[in-house]
């Protein structure tokens, strides 16, 4: 039999990915505790759509992350999402839970940086409130 070197490297990466660090992340903890969920907002404003409008963009983000460059393979995302949804984010309603899990695993995988994300949320918040 030939050597298994190239596969071995990929395997190590995969195994590492499966041992995701699921300890809390400050930025996401704050959003988890203080964030307003769709299931509270919708009745408050008399909206009966069961899902927030941003859910479809979240879903598209998950798809394209696994597309072309494959920055985040779908199967690994699903595994990590399951772990985080059952533990750290279990008390958050869906789909907010899925969003927190995605942001969490992207930070832990080094795809985005926590500080950068924190700064960006500030910028986005400011932009969205400009119309107020």
């Amino acid at each position: 039999m030939t050597s298994i070197n190239p596969d071995k490297i990929v395997l190590d990466e995969e195994m590492q990915a499966r041992n995701l660090d699921n300890s809390p992340i400050d930025l996401l903890e704050q959003i988890r505790q203080e964030g307003r969920c769709w299931e509270d907002l919708a009745p408050k404003w008399g909206v009966d759509n069961p899902e927030p409008p941003w859910k479809i963009w979240l879903e598209a983000t998950c798809e394209v992350l696994a597309d072309r460059n494959c920055a985040l393979p779908a199967l690994e995302r699903r595994w990590e999402e399951d772990d985080l949804s059952e533990e750290l984010y279990r008390d958050v309603p869906f789909p907010e839970r899925q969003l927190l899990a995605l942001a969490h695993l992207m930070i832990r995988r080094g795809l985005i940086d926590e500080k950068e994300l924190a700064a960006r949320t500030k910028i986005v918040e400011k932009r969205l409130h400009m119309a107020d």
Binding site: T2, D7, V10, L11
Partner: protein, 123 residues
Amino acid sequence: MSNKPVYDREHHVKKATGIGDPQCFTGEAPAAKFKVGDQLRVRDLPDLFYTRTQTYLRGTACTVSAVVYESPAAEDESWDNTDKVEWFYSLVFKQSDLWPDYPSAFGNDTLETELPERWLESA
């Protein structure tokens, strides 16, 4: 060194676009070893890297309900080895064969799933 052909990254895309996957592997597998109605058993093979043959099926008797499509097995395809195409079968298991303590009152209950040929042998 193996004689494995070297493909570019777009190989699968080019092959499957407009045709579909697993349709793009049609005609590439050797003749199917089994047919509908055959009594088989799931082999208990080691899985070193990646598999989609669940542990709960290993060693269990089953009946072929359909010969479904040709495709590389997940064990190969997950490493981008797509040259060894084989037949996939839809198999029906008795729940009481899968789980020893399955309630006897529901002895008719079954489970159906698909597996590639390499995981199957005649019972």
